[in-house]
Symmetry: C2
Subunit: 291 residues, 2 copies
């Protein structure tokens, strides 16, 4: 099974219970709408790549970790897009969930996906010694989503009068990338903490690249409007460092990520995979340097 | 330590990470506002009462289960009160969270409390054989909060054109009571499923009592307005059975709850405790019959 198929199957399996025949039908439909079709699924790809590099000896836990992280990511997009936050009309090239299904269902879909993210790892257990790993995955994912340094904290920093762009982006974006990396390692029975820097650096790189695209990108290709960060007075690497400075920061972050990869059976293959994935979000002139 | 002190300490310990010095300060304050001062804390009381009846041999897991359930309950209140749902001005005798802190923080506080509810049981582990119990607590709590039959599903049924009052109330209210009962048993190493009926029946009883109070109650005593169910066209036991029929249903539910209590070391004390707690929400003329 190729990586894309495996990830979609894992996410499908996780969403099934949130969108089944016993569910309120509108909610069921809205939940699927929020998760499918996906974006680049870059976070579960990272979880899977790390688990694979670590041996992937419990693929069912790897799948659960990857799905859990993707559900949290989708939930955060649905809630971020709400009128009281970004009031975003489009997401992944189609109307955002609250525009398609109304605000109440958008709030509930986010809530249900968050809950489901924490239900999936426990359900995946097949052997008694999986318990410890499943709990590690839950702990890692919870830390990346909540307070004081997860996605919810990142979003909440937007509501404060002052915030450093580093803290903000680390919480809002980096945290889930760090969790993807750590949870992939934990699912495969490796020391999660050693994998934090990889995800943290890639997450900040991804956010910086997004900030750059928000200024220089094409809205048709992105599937969402550009110029929103400045419009919303949002902390942004471009606002802080300028476009040139942001690109240099991006390059350094990808280098840091590559250098941080711990010793593991599949280290070389993982480096190649990260190089390939990074090309998706690196500005063209940086490709080659960053690898 | 008496029960009230123990529950407040458990909830305080759980909220601490959502409202600490590293958190965005407004969010931190809003999170505490949503959880303290509490209402009757009837769900964590039930969890604690069941765990105690089952021997309470891992009090740290019992505390985590009780706190987890209370955080989910508080999160659901904050989200239910949002303008896109009930648009409730008051909760627990003070302005609802979105009125006090704004809608964005109310959405985020709900999200962060949900996440925290799933982080707490894993953090509570002290012995290696606690893992299985903590995962059971997480599974039980997740099922009660999400889809297809948890609080989120209950709330989503309000948005469907038709729904039976039983299914609706079971999901919206009963589910968390059932989880309190089951999680209390699981924390103490007992078979959770055997305790489902107790919580489910008490939960429906509590909701029916709430429906009756919504028609007959005093808004000053309740700390919230009355007549909201009819105003919102909400499914309600009173709308379905009339006030008299609803009271009869309430009595039967409390009887079912009492009869369902499985054999356990503290069965007699638990019956007494439930009798005492039921008096808090039973209409005066039913007290005595129901016990």
């Amino acid at each position: 099974m190729d990586v894309t198929t495996r990830i979609e199957a894992a996410v499908e399996n996780a969403v099934d219970k949130v969108a089944c025949g016993d569910c309120p039908p509108l909610m069921s439909s809205a939940a699927r709408y929020a998760v499918f079709p996906g974006g680049a699924r870059i976070r579960p790809r990272l979880a899977l790549a790390v688990a694979t590099a670590c041996g992937d000896d419990r693929p069912w836990l790897t799948d659960a970790a990857a799905a859990s992280i993707e559900l949290l990511h989708c939930a955060s997009l649905v809630h971020d897009d709400l009128p009281c936050f970004d009031d975003a009309p489009m997401r992944r090239g189609k109307p955002s969930t609250h525009l398609a299904y109304g605000e109440p269902l958008a709030v509930l879909v986010g809530d249900a996906l968050i809950v489901r993210a924490f239900e999936v790892p426990g359900e995946a257990i097949k052997r008694s010694d999986d318990c410890r790993r499943a709990l590690d995955v839950i702990r890692i994912v919870a830390r990346s989503a909540g307070m004081p340094r997860g996605i919810a904290a990142g979003q909440a920093w937007e509501l404060e009068p002052t915030v450093g762009v580093g803290d903000y982006q680390r919480a809002k974006t980096g945290s889930l990338f760090a969790a993807a990396s750590e949870a992939g390692a934990a699912a495969a029975g490796h020391d999660a903490e050693a994998w934090w820097t990889l995800g943290d650096s890639l997450g900040e790189a991804y956010q910086v690249a997004d900030d750059i695209r928000d200024v220089t990108g094409n809205p048709d290709e992105l599937g969402k409007p550009v110029g929103r960060d400045a419009e919303l007075g949002r902390p942004s690497a471009v606002a802080q460092y300028g476009v040139g400075g942001a690109k240099q920061r991006l390059k350094r972050l990808v280098d840091t990520a590559m250098d941080s990869i711990p010793e593991c059976p599949g280290r070389a293959e993982l480096k190649t995979e990260i190089e390939v994935q990074s090309r998706r979000f690196l500005p063209a002139e940086l490709i080659g340097h960053a690898a």
